[in-house]
Amino acid sequence: MGELGVFTNWFGLASWLAADRDTLADAAKHAPGALRIRASHRYAVAGKTTFSLESDFQVLPGVTILRGHSGAGKTTLLRCVAGLADLRHGYIAIGEQVLFDSHRQINLPPRYRNIAFVFQNLALFPHLRVRENVAYGLRKLSAAARAQRVGSVTEAFRIAHLAERLPREISGGEQQRVALARALVTEPSALLLDEPLSSLDVRTKALIIEDLRAWNAAHHIPILYVTHDAEEARALGERVITLEHGRIAADASLREVPHSAPAHCASSVSSFQNYFEAIVVGVEAATGTVRCRVHSCGLELRVRATNCQLGSTVRIAVHAGIIPQAAAAPADSAEFGAFARPLEPMDAPATPVPD
């Protein structure tokens, strides 16, 4: 991770033009299945103002956030990766598979790229039922294979009961789930999301992302998620890339933050979570939990964790949906139905309890 971080920074800061493709090929070997994007493009927006897009980064399997203000070039970049917009100079590849290379004049049309794209307005086909929407990309499969694939993905995204509905007959959150299922049922080698969840409330969003992560735990594809919302970016991603005026302004790896914390504690980036710096004030080996005092407010939480030393500083992640409940609950209340998944998968739910 560290090595790749250095690599990316070197490219981003040094001249991307000088980069030769042998090095790029090396990069692909370093991270199999990673989505590699090096793009340079200049657009005339209106009259004299031009908009240039210059970026170079690698999206590893897992969720990466591409953040930037509106007009920073996020959507354009995403469309270039999917083949929906044209890039003048650049190189786009997934693992060994080159999708676009201006030097070698390679430019695969969208249908051969095997990249799933979830549009900002979702672009569900209004004339097709949920089942038909999800099955849309499986035209070449036999009917039985198609039904089987659609069945398993609609199960995974909890929309199986909506199969016979039309998109306009289901809720916004359900539409998002259908869009994800439709994109992922083709088993793509990368997933691009263009602010698809921006209209949803936090809790709905969190549950959807939870299911997306569960799906990706089995598939390990790079997921590039575009948002302009800093909060969302911080809560959601393992890695955040910030795009400003078409250039990469910051490339920080959130994943490294928990690692740099002194303990492998219940800090997690698995969902929409809030982070609290805390100190371990008690270890209850019998229940596998620790008691942590949050620095900022003195609140004590009981958190499921492993390997935490008494007195060590940890970072706690709390599901956004729990916080209002915790605030409303009496001080000595019992357990909350909370999930907080740490970086290393741990299935038992954490149980923060105000003390």
């Binding site: 049309p109 249908r111 794209f117 307005n121 569900l124 086909f125 209004p126 409330d201």
Partner: protein, 283 residues
């Protein structure tokens, strides 16, 4: 203390609606009354007997056949043109669109003259055919040409509007899901634009069926229903023309009614409601 103070606030709106309703009714007298009068005062048995005469049957056959051929040709050529005008970034786009709509503003008889000058035996296109003893006027081909000239703009216009109303993101989405341009057209663009296009086709068919002025100039023979109607009116007056008029009006009303109800039946009309945009729901 003035009486106005006690009036409900919407009294002005009501008087407005009353006046507009009255004005509308006056127009309806001209629009609907002739048709209603035709239906109520016709001698239906005499009319059906008149329509069973071989000449009338022949004219009906000519009309149905020519308008059928015309509508098929217009659909095959006009729908792609509508798509092109809606989606392709053509140079002088507005000019091409205006060009397609031009026949709509040309008066019928004048249109017939234009066509005759081109396709007639001495016209630049008609002459080489005429030299090989192929006539482009006064036969089924001439009738089809005229009908296409006057009604194809309906097909192109409805296709243009229909395809423009399809969110291009849907087409992009189909592309990322593995579809070629052809497949996207057949699976997404056409099904979504179809309800509007279908209405356009029906309107075009009715227009083709009723076309008279240009047909009179370009292809007097064989008689289509409207030309036959004219012939009857000339020779036998109102009484002779009435059954043919009844038949034409019936065909048009049935076609229009079918178009409206087919759309409602398939539920296609509200398919175009936007999906997933700016809606905030609790899950």
């Amino acid at each position: 203390m003035t009486p106005y103070l006690n009036r409900p606030a919407n009294r002005h709106v009501n008087s407005l609606l009353w006046i507009f309703g009255f004005l509308g009714l006056l127009l309806l007298l001209d629009l609907v009354l002739p048709i209603a009068n035709l239906f109520f005062t016709s001698n239906w048995t005499a009319a059906s007997a008149a329509l069973r005469q071989p000449e009338a049957l022949q004219a009906l056959k000519v009309s149905l056949r020519s308008s059928g051929i015309a509508i098929l040709t217009m659909t095959l050529l006009g729908v792609p043109l509508g798509y092109l005008l809606a989606r392709a970034k053509l140079p002088f786009q507005r000019f091409w669109i205006a060009l397609v709509f031009l026949p709509m503003v040309v008066p019928d008889l004048a249109g017939g003259i234009l066509l005759l000058r081109l396709f007639g035996p001495y016209g630049p296109i008609g002459h080489p055919f005429d030299a090989r003893n192929i006539a482009l006027t006064n036969n089924l081909f001439g009738i089809v040409l005229v009908q296409m000239f006057v009604s194809a703009p309906f097909v192109v216009a409805s296709s243009l509007a229909g395809f423009s109303s399809v969110d291009s993101e849907l087409e992009s989405a189909a592309g990322t899901l593995g579809d070629s341009a052809w497949q996207v057209f057949c699976r997404v663009s056409l099904p979504l634009a179809w309800p509007g296009i279908f209405i356009g086709i029906i309107l075009a068919w009715i227009r083709a069926l009723g076309e008279f002025g240009a047909t009179l100039v370009m292809a007097y023979n064989p008689h289509t229903l409207p030309v036959f109607l004219w012939v009857k009116f000339e020779s036998e007056g109102l009484a002779g023309a009435q059954p043919i008029a009844l038949c034409l009006v019936l065909l048009a009303v049935i076609a229009a009614g079918a178009a409206m109800n087919l759309n409602r039946f398939t539920g296609a009309a509200d398919v175009l409601a936007p999906v997933g945009k700016a809606t905030k729901w609790e899950n």
